[in-house]
Amino acid sequence: LPAKFDWRDKGAVGPVQNQQACGGCWAFSVVGIIESAKARSVQPWEPLSVQQVIDCSYKNQGCNGGITTRALGWLNQTKLKLVKQSEYPFKAQTGICHFFPQSHDGVSVKDFAAYNFSGREKAMMGRLVAWGPLAVTVDALSWQDYLGGIIQHHCSYHHANHAVIVIGYDATGEVPYWIVQNSWGTSWGNEGYAYIKMGGNVCGIADSVSAVFL
């Protein structure tokens, strides 16, 4: 494995999103990894509809919350085609699900994987490099005040409450860290990104890890 890896260098990561006052982080992380998976085979990166997942993933609660693996399971089961963001734009509130005919152009999920990598973050590095950006859940309570730098303290595991995307890592320095894209806009953290110390399952980053295949 390379000591440093970042999917942004391969053009497979979109810009940092802003979920605003909608608790739809779970949908942003799921759609984010699908966009990345698509961009890995078909360039350039293209935004897909987060609102479609928020409105239509009926087993989740839209802007009131959700579970990433449940959304991925639903996408995999229904083979629903995710449409372009421009066709179903983000409104920051839950709405009525809009249906598109099956002939409509879109991206559907072929398969997905969900793992617990706690105690096996080296393996998680391998999966990130092989499979692309990973959707993870974290305990983000202390992220309310985060400005930047590598998170090493004040972050428990087994209390997941937020979904984000791991897009890379850097193990070249004294403190190796995961590079995590958040959905709270670019004014938060390191221009929208958080760095989390690798090893020790800081923030529970390895507890629930999902990848998607198209």
Partner: protein, 80 residues
């Protein structure tokens, strides 16, 4: 400065005073959180767009994801 930087307007005086008290609490929190930041690249905590929210408000608005008690399905076989 905070209001200007993050475009905050409060409709009622009570909203303003409540947010101000949450802001003051956040300053105390930052001091505690930063007391663990010994190394130069360690995380820093301070004023950002969430500083006028209570922890409860922040939790309710932004910490809305949960995890299935068991990972429900993995399409890939793990053997081999």
């Amino acid at each position: 400065s905070f209001r200007e930087l993050f475009n905050r307007t409060y409709k009622l005086p009570s909203d303003y005073y409540r947010s101000k008290s949450y802001f003051k609490n956040s300053i105390k929190r930052h001091a505690y959180l930063n007391s663990f930041s010994a190394t130069p690249n360690c995380a820093k905590y301070g004023i950002n767009q969430f500083s006028d929210l209570s922890v409860k408000e922040f939790r309710e608005l932004y910490l809305t994801a949960s995890v299935a008690t068991t990972l429900p399905y993995s399409g890939l076989k793990t053997g081999g």
